[in-house]
């Protein structure tokens, strides 16, 4: 497979996942705000700020909008073309990558993605950002699910498929960590702990990961920091927990190289294996308080390193270096 094709499949997948996750975040936030004090745009903005901080986008936001308002954040995260991580930008980038590999993916995959693009391009952004149009967010989530379903049933499960899985799982694991981060920013904004507010925030986080019901299956109704972190980071069964995603990533990577999963044949495999072990053997104490904060940071950093190493291994255009070839020749001669 061409390096560029691998790269495009990886990013197509990553962008769709990113778009879907941002939609979840925005949608849940819209719903949460309805039950909180939101009498004016300033107060509304305070609810949104943790999301901007988690996504590392607050500076980008301030550069575009003179005013901090609830409407603006919603617009920024959903539609703004200048924000490369807005839902619209992600869908556009996903489509662009898909277009690059139009010959590799199934017609159904391409058409679904193209329809999604046309859908958001034609959406009424003013109305959606001011009136929280749940229908709109639901449609985008449905498109994302549909795309994955079509992928599973129309895309040959060989090399290209594994690159798609890698893109999806890296992004998903990273987003789960970011969603856990929002809680940290929320806590820091209020000085005194309040159980009722905590419960609402935890519920929102779990919903952002579609994990609200699954959490209750695994942990009962114990909506507290440790069980929520255990669930979102270490669950063996929940498809969006960091451990689950990284394990899935590991399986896909080893399918690409054909190296047994107990060994490693390259740097991204080594990093991934190490991270899997770390999470696999983590205890409750490892997710508690500052330990937990550090663990979340570590996972995020490691995911970035894995993505870089992975790209270097399979997708870099530097596979052939004429200078290296020349030196090899000389040393042989």
């Amino acid at each position: 497979m061409l390096c560029r094709v691998a790269d495009s499949l990886f990013w197509m997948s990553r962008y769709i996942e990113r778009a879907e996750n941002t939609v979840r975040l925005v949608d849940v936030m819209h719903q949460t705000i309805l039950e909180s004090e939101h009498s004016n745009e300033d107060v509304g903005y305070a609810h949104w700020e943790p999301i901007l901080l988690t996504l590392g986008d607050r500076d980008a936001y301030d550069a575009i909008y003179p005013k901090r308002s609830s409407f603006n954040v919603s617009e920024f995260l959903t539609f703004n073309e200048k924000n490369p991580s807005s839902v619209f930008s992600c869908i556009k980038s996903a489509r662009e990558n898909a277009r690059t590999v139009r010959d590799q993916i199934s017609t159904e995959m391409w058409e679904t993605l193209n329809k999604l693009y046309l859908f958001i391009k034609r959406a009424d952004s003013q109305m959606i950002c001011s009136e929280s149009d749940f229908e709109f967010f639901a449609r985008i989530k449905e498109f994302a699910h549909l795309f994955r379903g079509i992928l599973e049933s129309t895309f040959p499960q060989d090399l290209g498929y594994e690159f798609v899985v890698c893109g999806r799982e890296i992004e998903r694991a990273a987003k789960t960590c970011q969603i856990l981060d929002t809680k940290r920013f929320m806590s820091s904004s209020t000085s005194e702990p309040d159980d009722a507010i905590d419960a609402v925030q935890f519920a929102a986080m779990l919903r952002s990961c579609t994990g609200f019901e699954a959490f209750h299956h695994e942990h009962g109704s114990d909506l507290d920091t440790i069980p929520v972190r255990q669930f979102l980071l270490l669950s063996q069964k929940f498809p969006r927990s960091a451990l689950f995603c990284i394990r899935r990533l590991q399986v896909a990577m080893h399918a690409i190289s054909n190296c047994p999963i107990t060994l490693f044949s390259n740097e991204p495999e080594r990093l991934t294996g190490r991270l899997v072990s770390k999470l696999n053997y983590a205890l409750a104490v490892d997710v508690e308080g500052e330990n937990g904060d550090r663990l979340i940071d570590d996972i995020e950093t490691e995911l970035e390193n894995i993505a870089i190493a992975f790209s270097r291994q399979y997708m870099q255009a530097e596979i052939y270096d004429p200078a290296v070839e020349a030196t090899q020749k000389q040393s042989q001669g």
């Binding site: 390096c3 560029r4 277009r99 690059t100 139009r102 391409w110 058409e111 193209n114 052939y320 020349a326």
Partner: protein
């Protein structure tokens, strides 16, 4: 559907001047009349939506942000009877044979120049003449593997050659998609005796590419595209997908010191044998041609000249489809084949000749002036429709650069009933058949009928408000 139609003062493809349908259209007229206008309209909308959703689009340049558009498709098919088609087929094969002999000659012995048929100056000053090709023998001696020749019909319905596209002709994907859409929308319109199929084009193309592979055995074939922002990217992907070939960009390829071309894959480098390149000569190899080109592959010409990779079309074919060279094609046919041209050229003036320059300068407002090296309807003056300023501007340009222009009397292209906002109305059409050369020359039965959708317009190019029609070659004459 009520057909209330005026052929006007033009040659109409469907109707005789007296308003009766030509025999090969009789059945279509009958079936169309039985359709309700509402049905027809619904089908049209459905087809347009399908094209948009499938991303069967092209990119229009010029605006700050290039926009993706669908190539408008008209649901009234153009029909060509079998005997008329064999005439065209013969003419196109003759022309293609002569063009290929010309290219071989011009890059080797230049007999046609020595014998005084084509002036040396025309060749030397041609923007698309490539010194690098002199003395080089392309695989199997073929230069133009894929040609799209534009035909028009004059007042009497005679077919004339308007231009040859022997570099990177595009549009063939629309030919195939149009047929597909037509079959879905109006199965009842297809005659019982059938229509000659165009769908195996990718297969023919694949065989033609395989034919020139430098090594025996299964060749690795790739389509070289400038990338997703190119106006014909959809087509490049379409063809690669249909042929099961790789689609590559310049950045995906390297030429190693062994002078072979490789593509960069996730498991290392893989040798490429044949490139169907959709990048112009100028951009194909920054080591040899345009140094700034990011689209090409450094060293590609080296690999090509070493015979390690085959290119389709060959480098340097542009000298044959230059609009000035065009004027000499009838002479080439005589010179190389000792035959009369089956398909005549449009009468053309060459400002490069003194007498023609005088005529062109004096009659510019009655002529169509075209830049010799441009395509897509750019750099063109339609005298009768132009303002005084525009005419003056072209007068000066032609005077300063005689070699860069040709002039032709405006030909009133034939018209074809086309479905517009006011029902069926006559619109001007041309025809681009596709010709493939490998062990022999084959013409795809049909081609792309382009239609100028704006009332009265003679410009059929997609970039300038043109659309297209499905083109049916019948198995018989009615």
């Amino acid at each position: 559907m009520k057909i209330d139609y005026d052929t006007g003062d033009f040659f109409d493809e469907m109707y005789h001047a007296d308003g009766t349908a030509r025999p090969h259209y009789a059945r279509l007229v009958e079936t169309l009349s039985a359709l309700s206008e509402e049905d027809f309209h619904k089908k049209r909308e459905a087809v347009e939506l399908a094209f948009l959703q499938q991303g069967i689009t092209f990119t229009v340049y010029g605006n700050e942000e290039s926009t993706e558009k669908i190539f408008p498709f008209d649901l009234v098919p153009r029909i060509i009877p079998a005997s008329e088609w064999s005439h065209l087929e013969e003419g196109l094969i003759q022309r293609m044979t002569a063009l290929n002999l010309f290219l071989h000659d011009v890059y080797h012995d230049q007999k046609i120049i020595k014998d005084g048929i084509v002036p040396m100056e025309i060749i030397k000053s041609g923007k698309h003449f490539r010194e690098e090709m002199v003395g080089f023998e392309p695989p199997k001696g073929i230069y133009i593997h894929i040609c799209g020749t534009d035909l028009i019909r004059d007042h009497h319905g005679e077919y004339l050659v308007l231009e040859d596209n022997g570099r990177c002709p595009s549009g063939v994907s629309y030919m195939i998609e149009n047929r597909r859409a037509m079959k879905k929308a109006f199965p009842q319109l297809f005659p019982a005796s059938g229509v000659q199929s165009v769908s195996n084009y990718p297969d023919k193309l694949h065989k033609a590419l395989q034919y020139i592979a430098p090594q025996a055995g299964a060749a690795t074939i790739a389509v070289l595209t400038p990338g997703i922002y190119n106006s014909a990217y959809f087509e490049h992907c379409f063809l690669a997908r249909q042929m099961g070939a790789e689609i590559v960009q310049g950045q995906d390829l390297v030429v190693k010191s062994d002078d072979c071309v490789y593509m960069k894959t996730t498991v290392g480098l893989k040798r490429v044998d044949v490139l169907y390149r959709r990048i112009d000569d100028d951009f194909i190899d920054p080591e040899v041609f345009n140094k700034e080109s990011m689209l090409g592959v450094p060293g590609l010409m080296r690999a090509y000249r070493a015979g390690n990779v085959a290119l389709a079309n060959a480098v340097g074919t542009g000298i044959a489809d230059d609009k000035v060279t065009y004027c000499f094609v009838p002479d080439m046919i005589k010179y190389y084949l000792d035959q009369d041209p089956i398909l005549p050229n449009v009468e053309t003036f060459l400002p490069y000749r003194e007498a023609d320059m005088k005529y062109v300068q004096e009659n510019m407002e009655n002529l169509v002036v075209k830049a010799a090296n441009e395509a897509g309807g750019y750099g063109m003056l339609i005298g009768p429709a132009a303002s005084k300023e525009e005419v003056a501007e072209f007068r000066a340009m032609v005077k300063d650069n005689p070699r860069d222009f040709i002039a032709q009397p405006p030909i009133s292209l034939s018209r074809h009933p086309t479905y517009g906002d006011e029902g069926l109305d006559g619109r001007h059409v041309d025809l681009r058949p596709y010709i493939i050369q490998s062990d022999k020359i084959r013409v795809v039965p049909g081609g792309l009928t382009r239609v100028a959708l704006r009332k009265g317009s003679l410009v059929v190019n997609s970039s300038q408000g043109g659309g297209s029609k499905d083109t049916w070659v019948l198995n018989n004459d009615q």
